[in-house]
Subunit: 466 residues, 3 copies
């Protein structure tokens, strides 16, 4: 077997026993996936996936980055780039992965993969050079079957709702198509307007123009631009969206008056804004989005702190999301003050904050979320979406913010088969944290059971208004 | 029972057994409370407290902030504010607290409260909606009795000495009255001159004037101003004070010559100083305080790193200390250099450093305290005065600074009944840390016993010269 | 006995049993010591060490700093300084250490010392005031014997290779002498050019002149200066060197073109460079060193983040490395970008990054090393070369970077007898980390065994090209 039933539980017998009992209560609960990056076209078309490599390696930046860090080249791992020969032999790529699977020891990728191999594909021998062909063939065979199509997987995974993420310019055709189909899976989108908010985004000016066209607003004016946001948010909401997402590099906010903001916008769209003004614009837009959230009820997610595309060469050839986004030191206290002074005490505002800088958990985020009614903390994110990362999150956050200023789990995945694996890890780690609290007589086992269900299911549903 | 005798001890049987034996040695030791914010008038007048709400909720910013973070309003929790209707029905407020007591799960507030409920008031059923009235009535009855008056509680809690904190302008009337009474409790003050050092403090100029009046010094001159400090320190010392406390937002220090300092002071009191000059003045004053400490022997506490009153609205309406002080990134290495270059090697100087930025424990504070004879580290502070916070403190500090560059525990409380609860937590966590060291054969159990007593009692007494 | 066979293993029986089995596999493996500061003359002359104090106290800044932090003066601990009377009575110094040995409880110094006392000198009673004379006499007797000479210790310690560190100006006479001797110990040097790269280094200009003389290059020109580096690197390589080391205060890098670099160099050597330009020069030189590493194959170690000589008085009187180097907040992501954009994807480049700022492990270092093929992470360094420090390193690094982007252990020691003690600690902690992974079913015990051997022996050998 690849998976032990006691995996991730505490090592001492006392805590482990409690963790098992708690996990029993949550293991089978439906999955709420309120934030992720799966492709809605999968569920619209429900076409079969093709092979193990294209399903599990090529789209997974966690896997790519580890192999690249050990000297493998993206083109040899099946990634398509400008003016570059990409390996076409999927089996050959799979073999590279299999031979180097030991590199992933003690990383979450290994846990997610083994979970997928055993639970989805029924494999119970370890992946390595010897078993590489068997794996490739077996997974390929499975993927041809109806039961391995996206909608069937969605059902098998016991997903209750799955959120994808689309740009402000997306027409949500796949979401419409799913809604109009006779399938009862619930796939909703998240409003992500970075490409019309961040003046440094590729093709920002063109994006603004397109933003005007699709909303029938004059996006060369501040008022028209804000109206365009309002209309797109409304459109997303009409198709089920309950949240927006903001992935700027900082959490800077501003509180300009209308005249100042209007002038700043003019500079930004006429491209004469300097870098300070561009940052001020992004900062002001977070506050504007908060204001709109109060009006239309969208939950507002703020995901700062990633230095995107650290390697320009990789970006130029292979594009975004290839494993070269690196976390950086991130501030919250000072920079959120303009927004929070303005709207922070308003209970109609629901902001969910994330971080890649774990030093802010106990220093800034838990104290902020433990004071402002408008703030909650998102789960351990990205690099920290891992057993130790999640445990640190609970240990650093809970004593100041409690459990009820957190929002359950986000899988944040691009790799659909890993969805149940990630929720399984999260549930096991939360139950382990709670088991230690029970073993140390900080809370009772009865309380822990109640909290375990909140963390695994209820809090995500409530916090994201699902 | 609300409290298990093994609470907070390690989960594995081996370490837990050791922890229990160590705790046995320290559980009954008298409490040294060298830093806190209880009200000396309680002990001067020895009047009965009135009801559970006014005793346990209204003055406790930990409790208020958690309830506010979940949407409750300060005025509905009994807090008085400008032009605002405050809830007068104490029972109604208590019921809000009781119904929402689950929010505090796994927070230190819950531990302190349960400790108070069971050990002080003899209650052994959990607080919730159903038991709310019983609690309110029972605590109210208790508080009417003589044995629940402040002095009687002080004795019951086995306190040997309790420090309060007063501003440089306080006349210490309550301390005098206690001293002149026939009660033998030892309540001393701490000299906290922030309001005459920080040019940004409310009414700074008026404070300086008053500072001159009560010391009969010309505080419009640098020399007179420094003399005023010397005289007030002397006055505090005459009433038992052994320490000063400095709660500025940074740990910046400066080392100006007399002429520079004198010119700067002139700018500061004539209000023409800019923000850089004001910060320089605060920085210079830390160095001046260090110099006076060498002269008069006061232990000098530095508590930087809180962004006070993050929400201006709350400040304007409800005032300070209502749960909206948020920690921020704090530096020590560079900014303490001017002071340490001047006086850092002087063994007559005793500085105790605190932090709200845990990333500095192993990076800056333990290395500094493990080198300079004038520096010691205060315990895990405020948001980190919690089981995991204390454990992180020991884990991050001990390997570089050892135990003997730390100063035992501070309860730092405003809520008198929580004093014994907080010392109980600290003793349990330190014994747990030591037990793990013994279980891993890093130190012997005999050594651990000696250290446990130092951490629970002796180090505080020696470090604060009590 | 001073040492328990289960020391440092996890407290719970389950994990401890696994840790013991893993440790069994690595305990006796030869020591690879690829980075340290022992004195090559010891091995060249193979003279006996003289007494316990000069062997174990005077050269050990960890020991000195702890005693100084408690009020002892360096001159009374045998350290020689300018215009200062240094204690000559070695026994008296030893007694101070013995009486205050309790200060080191739970610090790594205590572990290393006890290991040396028991394993090297066969002592099995604890050091304290009573046993001080016995220790001093017994160690003194031992040191007179042939078997306690440096080469004999090297063999006894089962060292396979030991690296020292020499400046770019060192003639490596002792390394030559060792090489030409009939002893088969392998002592190699590390190329450390800080004193000809850092314009703020003592006697920088004189160093540059000497650099020119010994390489027969015109080091007043940029080209000549770079050639001098090339020649010295070649010379070091000819005597076995496989790595360079760079201990600047930041990890700043730059990517100037040749003309810019040449102009900057001119400013730097004519001493008209301002502090910004000096920093830019250091930054550019890291990139130049990376370029040379690609050419000549030297592994490049970067050790930033220490605020050297925090106390100027101590520096002026006693010189460097006396315990007053203090870690400071350190950045990697932005500042390494110029170097990494230029050479980061080149697999011929081997950079090993270290830090004293543990907040960067999970935030910056593991993500960078888990993406760039040229980057690996050095082990927990200096203040963090301790049981908890090493454990935090594995916990914070592994989930993102895995095991294979780390490089095994460095002892980094100046105190030769502590070499086996430090490797023992490292092996025990790594086995404990792995045991917990096995106990939690994250990896199999068979995998853990393989990894344990990598961490204890193979990775250091491969990463440093030994």
């Amino acid at each position: 077997m690849l998976l032990n039933e006691n995996r991730l539980f505490p090592a001492d017998e006392n805590s482990r026993g409690i963790a098992k009992r708690l996990f029993n209560e949550v293991e089978k609960l439906p999955i709420i996936s309120p934030h992720g990056h799966t492709d809605p076209s999968w569920f619209a078309s429900n076409k079969n996936f093709t092979n193990a490599t294209d399903l599990l390696i090529v789209p997974d930046h966690y896997v790519l980055r580890m192999l690249v860090s050990q000297g493998f080249k993206l083109e040899n791992l099946g990634v398509i780039g400008k003016d570059i020969n990409t390996e076409k032999d999927k089996r050959k790529i799979w073999k590279i992965f299999a031979e180097n699977y030991y590199l992933f020891r003690s990383t979450p990728s290994r846990i997610w993969m083994d979970h997928t191999f055993e639970n989805l594909f029924g494999i119970n021998k370890p992946l390595n050079q010897k078993t590489a062909d068997f794996y490739f063939d077996h997974i390929g065979e499975c993927l041809k079957k109806d039961e391995f199509r996206p909608r069937e997987m969605y059902n098998k995974f016991n997903i209750e709702i799955l959120s994808t993420t689309e740009s402000a310019l997306d027409n949500l055709e796949f979401h419409k198509s799913i809604k109009n189909s006779n399938w009862n899976g619930r796939i909703i989108s998240t409003y992500r307007p970075d490409n019309v908010i961040d003046p440094d985004f590729d093709n920002f000016k063109e994006n603004i123009d397109k933003f005007g066209e699709i909303t029938n607003e004059d996006t060369t004016t501040w008022t028209g631009y804000l109206n365009a946001h309002r209309k797109r948010r409304e459109y997303f909401i009409s198709l089920g969206t309950t949240a927006s997402d903001h992935g700027l590099s900082t959490a800077n906010t501003a509180d300009l008056n209308n005249e100042e903001a209007s002038k700043l916008f003019e500079k930004v769209i006429t491209k004469i804004a300097n870098s300070h003004e561009k940052e001020l614009f992004r900062a002001q837009m977070l506050t504007e989005m908060a204001k709109m959230s109060i009006e239309d009820g969208l939950v507002m997610q703020i995901h700062p702190g990633s230095h995107r595309n650290h390697n320009k060469n990789i970006l130029d050839i292979f594009g975004r999301d290839k494993g070269f986004d690196i976390p950086q030191r991130t501030s919250y206290v000072d920079v959120l003050k303009p927004l929070l002074s303005r709207y922070g005490m308003n209970s109609k505002l629901n902001i969910i904050l994330f971080t890649l800088d774990e030093s802010t958990y106990s220093r800034e985020l838990a104290p902020l979320a433990g004071a402002y009614p408008s703030l909650k903390l998102g789960p351990a994110w990205w690099f920290h979406d891992s057993p130790n990362g999640m445990m640190r999150y609970r240990e650093l956050v809970t004593e100041t913010a409690g459990f009820y200023n957190t929002v359950g789990f986000n899988d944040d995945t691009r790799a659909f088969p890993s969805v149940p694996a990630r929720h399984d890890v999260s549930r096991r780690v939360d139950c382990s944290f709670l088991a230690t609290q029970v073993a140390k007589h900080i809370i009772s086992e009865e309380e822990a059971r109640e909290v375990a269900i909140e963390l695994a299911y209820k809090l995500a549903k409530v916090s994201y208004k699902l």
